[in-house]
């Protein structure tokens, strides 16, 4: 009995105008967008590779340890075609610097920050709206429509359990809804594979199948919702109004209002305090530095020039006193700036904690919205959510710490600080003879070039293994983060199905 009811449901739907309309609309929207999205990704990926090469080159051109300031990158995820998530506005390059702890990533890629004010468009957006709307349109009259036509009475007068009728109708609706969704998803994948030449790796295929599964769950939820409305209302127009109301609430209103309400209830602090600290601590350090210079009677100028320790043009007149003065001076301010970086990071931490609090409150408001759950889990799977980004930042912070520790272990901030910014051994200054020889050598270089010696003239590049490698495994879908939204979606479906079932059992078919 279940089988024949199920097939009847599918056959009936296949003929309807709305099924055709849903199929064509979803397919057309997905095709148009995937075309542009795929192209967009290819361009972005090329830009990324270009950028990555240039940063790698830059990372290699390091002559003294004080110049070590690599730029690390978060690779692009091809799944961003499905869900752009926060990828677009968060940036994916971090410059590791001794004097600051990475808080944000720089955006060398997404070009136009003015477009961040417009919500981004991806396949997920189409699915969030289209699947749910068509789910409702397909199911809002499944019960009361039959009642209006008088067929429900006949159906129930047969020797068929109501549970079977309800389940068959539900299953039929889900299968019918799956057709436009899966068809357009598969065509999109074909376009990406064969026209744009985007290759997904194995783990990404797993993520894509999970996205497909989530889409189906999401669709099933709205089929169930439509059927409940259809059972609660006696007339199909009322059922429709009720279903659309629920749809508006859960898909459009709650996700939007959730964010804004959370931002209203837990407003973020102003960043003025942080800016103030940056400014004040900066001038404090500068005044400490000039105090240090006068107190220790340090003479930094040589031939009227200064500027060493990171600057690309390199002045050095080769005197031992000059080197000793710089060693004292750089050792002094290097520590001050590193301490300040830690203090600033503490300030940022409390700011970020507040942001997280707001975010969690927003998620709490939105947890009743299936659209939010779908978005949340799909962006996590596509590796484009905020958690991914913050994991990358955390990784780059640990990398910075590792570099600092490495430099410290090599004694470059204290006993070997001469090598930190010159690479010269102190022994080279030991004898009168060696001192004079190097001065002679530098003088020749200075005379042969312009008025200063470039670092690349003075030294060779640091060996490649001198700088610790950054090993960040990007592009792995975040299955755990997708787990609880998926579970809640499944729970919601079970709840809605059970509710619809109970209501239908008590339904008056006359």
């Amino acid at each position: 009995m279940f089988g024949s009811l199920f097939w009847k449901e599918i056959r009936e739907h296949l003929m309807t105008f709305r099924f055709g309309a849903a199929l064509i609309t979803t397919f057309a929207l997905v095709m148009v967008s995937v075309w542009v999205l795929g192209e967009d990704f290819v361009v972005r990926n090329n830009n990324f590779n270009q950028m990555s090469d240039s940063f790698a080159q830059q990372n290699r051109e390091v002559y003294v340890p004080s110049q070590i300031s690599p730029v690390v990158l978060r690779p692009l995820s091809p799944l961003s075609i499905f869900a752009k998530g926060e990828d677009e506005h968060l940036g994916n390059a971090v410059q590791i610097s001794r004097w600051s702890v990475p808080v944000d990533a720089d955006d060398y890629l997404t070009v136009n920050d003015l477009l961040h004010s417009i919500p981004s468009f991806d396949l997920l957006t189409i699915f969030v709206f289209a699947i749910s709307l068509f789910g409702i349109l397909l199911s809002y009259d499944s019960i009361c429509g039959e009642r209006e036509r008088g067929t429900l009475k006949m159906l129930c007068s047969n020797n068929t359990k109501r549970g079977v009728i309800f389940t068959a109708k539900f299953a039929g609706g889900v299968v019918i809804l799956a057709v436009p969704f899966l068809l357009s998803l598969i065509s999109a994948l074909l376009v990406l594979q064969f026209i744009h030449g985007i290759r997904f790796i194995e783990i990404q295929w797993v993520a894509i199948s999970l996205i497909a599964l989530l889409g189906l769950l999401y669709g099933a939820l709205f089929i169930g919702l439509g059927m409940i409305c259809s059972t609660l209302a006696n007339r199909s127009s009322v059922a429709l109004a009720l279903a659309l109301l629920l749809w508006t609430l859960s898909v459009i209103l709650i996700p939007s209002a959730g964010n804004s309400l959370a931002a209203t209830i837990v407003p973020l602090e102003s960043t003025e305090g942080i800016s103030k600290f940056v400014q004040e601590s900066g001038s404090e350090i500068r005044s400490k530095m000039s105090e240090f210079i006068t107190e220790n009677n340090i003479n930094l100028s040589s031939n009227g020039s200064s500027g060493i320790g990171g600057a690309t043009p390199y002045w050095f007149d080769g005197r031992l006193e000059w080197l000793l003065d710089h060693m004292k001076y750089i050792g002094f301010y290097e520590q001050l700036y590193q301490d300040r970086a830690d203090q600033l990071w503490k300030l940022y931490q409390s700011y970020i904690a507040r942001k997280k609090e707001q975010f969690q409150l927003g998620s709490l408001f939105k947890v009743v919205s299936p659209a939010h759950l779908l978005r949340h889990s799909v962006t996590a799977l596509a590796f484009t959510d905020y958690a991914t980004h913050s994991a990358f930042l955390e990784h780059s912070r640990r990398y910075r710490q590792a570099i600092l520790d490495d430099l410290r272990n090599k004694g470059l901030f204290d006993r070997n600080i001469n090598k930190f910014f010159t690479r010269w051994e102190m022994s080279e200054f030991a004898t009168e003879e060696s001192n004079r020889r190097r001065q002679e050598e530098l003088r020749r270089k200075i005379e042969s070039t312009d008025d200063f010696v470039w670092m690349r003239d003075a030294f060779s590049v640091l060996p490649e293994d001198y700088i610790l490698p950054f090993n960040y495994q990007g592009g792995q879908p975040n299955f755990e983060a997708a787990l609880w939204p998926t579970a809640s979606l499944a729970l919601m479906i079970i709840g809605i199905f059970a509710l619809g079932f109970v209501v239908f059992i008590r339904y008056d078919v006359r």
């Binding site: 309309a21 920050d113 477009l115 508006t248 931002a263 973020l268 103030k276």
Partner: protein
């Protein structure tokens, strides 16, 4: 006709669909008031705080013209009072600019926005009217003709001595009245609450902007109503007209603005930040390495400032800075152009057009950014002019007014004290009417809306005239 209108109005107001939707819209308007009252207060705090900080910092530097002109002021965009009408994604748009008398840089976001949230439309009027109320208009109008046919009442109606023209006009006006009633109640509640919460400083320009916004909103909803009636008079079953209209709504209201961004990004290209950086380095190297002999040298010795190399250096640095600025400006102009292309493409959709029109009226979004950007530039020119004029008065100055950017380069121009009162301040530029001193009424949008209304009315009327009520 009047009877039909009254009947339609009464029907609409009694309808359960209507009541529920009206409650939803009203709720949205109330929520809007609280959200934007808070946001306005925070934005105002930020703005005032930034003015206070800048004032304090500038005040501490009045004893030296060089110091005060090279201090990096952080200009913050004044709060947009009318953001509750058209939000325009203000949270994510740069609203801070680092500026001194020589450079203008780093438009950055300095707001209380949370980048952890995915960007979704905010509960502004554009959303309430463009998304919620258009949906409502569709639900009200999809059955106007085909529904009456199904119920059999259309035949009765037409057998009375009523012309189809007056039937059409009556129905249209009745439906429009329903919508206008909700909009009016919603807006009244919204504005009262905002006034009560002290987040709406009234002025003539602001009232005008609100008035124009209401008019544009009504025209936008009317487009949807007429479309609903047209589809309803073309199809013969309300279920079919509903599906057609819902698909139209999905495509036009939800998909088109997003697609516009996707296409706009590819139509109008902008240089990547990476390319900008490369151009900057290249321009710097071109000038610096081809600079005349001696331009590279520098001494802290005050005597040196009057020498020929010092002047050559000043000239070279000024050229580098101005080229630098040109490259940045070009990139910025390209960005603005691209964003405008996206907005224009989105105008294909009634919601997109409404959004663009209201953003122009309310000076938010890209239009607000442009206004802010232009003001900042104007301020910088004013500041530079002031410094040059001041420097001329000092006979001990070498008159090489230049700077590398935000770092102090001593002994290049006058270092006499400045009276704080005469120093130009950025927020003075905003004071008369603030952002709203220049009203930009989107007449093009209004005319297009009117034209579409007219066209749809004609189509709907013809369809009704040819309609077979049996």
């Amino acid at each position: 006709m009047i009877t039909i209108m009254k009947h339609q109005l009464a029907n609409g107001l009694r309808d359960s669909k209507f009541l529920v939707m009206a409650a939803l819209v009203l709720l949205a308007f109330i929520t809007n008031s609280f959200i934007y009252a808070e946001r306005y207060q925070l934005a105002l705090d930020d703005w005032q705080e930034s003015i206070a900080t800048t004032t304090e910092q500038l005040h501490a530097r009045t004893n030296n013209l060089q110091d005060i002109s090279e201090y990096a002021q952080r200009l913050v965009k004044p709060p947009t009072v009318l953001a509750f009408i058209a939000d325009g994604g203000e949270d994510r748009l740069p609203n801070g600019i680092l500026i001194n008398a020589f450079v203008y840089r780093n438009p950055s976001v300095k707001s209380r926005g949370n980048d952890m949230f995915a960007l979704l439309p905010n509960l502004d009027w554009v959303f309430i009217v463009g998304t919620l109320m258009t949906l409502m208009a569709l639900l009200l109008s999809y059955g106007t003709i085909s529904g009456e046919k199904r119920d059999g009442t259309l035949r009765q109606l037409l057998s009375n001595p009523v012309s189809r023209a007056s039937l059409f006009t009556g129905k249209y006006l009745g439906l429009l009245m329903v919508i206008v009633v909700i909009l009016a109640v919603g807006v009244a509640v919204n504005i009262t609450l905002l006034l009560f919460l002290g987040a709406l400083p009234l002025s003539e320009q602001i009232l005008l902007a609100i008035g124009w916004s209401i008019l544009t909103s009504i025209l936008c909803i009317s487009v949807i109503l007429l479309l609903g009636m047209a589809v309803s008079s073309i199809t013969h079953r309300p279920a079919v007209s509903l599906v057609v209209l819902m698909i139209f709504w999905l495509v036009a209201i939800i998909a088109v603005p997003g697609l516009a961004k996707l296409f706009g990004e590819n139509f109008a290209s902008v240089p990547t930040p990476y390319e900008v950086r490369r151009d900057l380095t290249k321009s710097f190297e071109d000038i610096w390495y081809n600079a005349p002999e001696g331009a590279g040298s520098w001494h802290s010795n005050p005597e040196y400032a009057f020498s020929k190399p010092a002047h050559l250096r000043a000239e070279t640095v000024s050229r580098i800075i101005s080229e630098d600025q040109k490259i940045r400006d070009r990139a910025n102009d390209a960005r603005i152009r691209q964003a405008e292309t996206v907005r224009t493409l989105a105008c294909v959709s009634p919601a997109g057009m409404l959004d663009d029109a209201l953003q122009r009226l309310c000076r938010t979004g890209i239009h607000g950014y442009k206004a802010f950007h232009d003001t900042a530039k104007r301020y910088q020119r004013q500041l530079h002019g002031f410094v040059v004029a001041r420097d001329r008065l000092d006979s001990n100055s070498p008159h090489t007014v230049y700077s590398w950017g935000f770092g102090v380069t001593p002994n290049t121009f006058s270092s006499l004290p400045v009276e704080f009162g005469t120093f130009p301040r950025s927020h003075f530029l905003w004071e008369s009417g603030g952002l709203y001193s220049e009203q930009e009424v989107p007449f093009v949008h209004l005319i297009v809306f009117l034209a579409i209304n007219l066209q749809l009315a004609i189509i709907a009327f013809i369809a009704l005239a040819c309609y077979d009520p049996r």
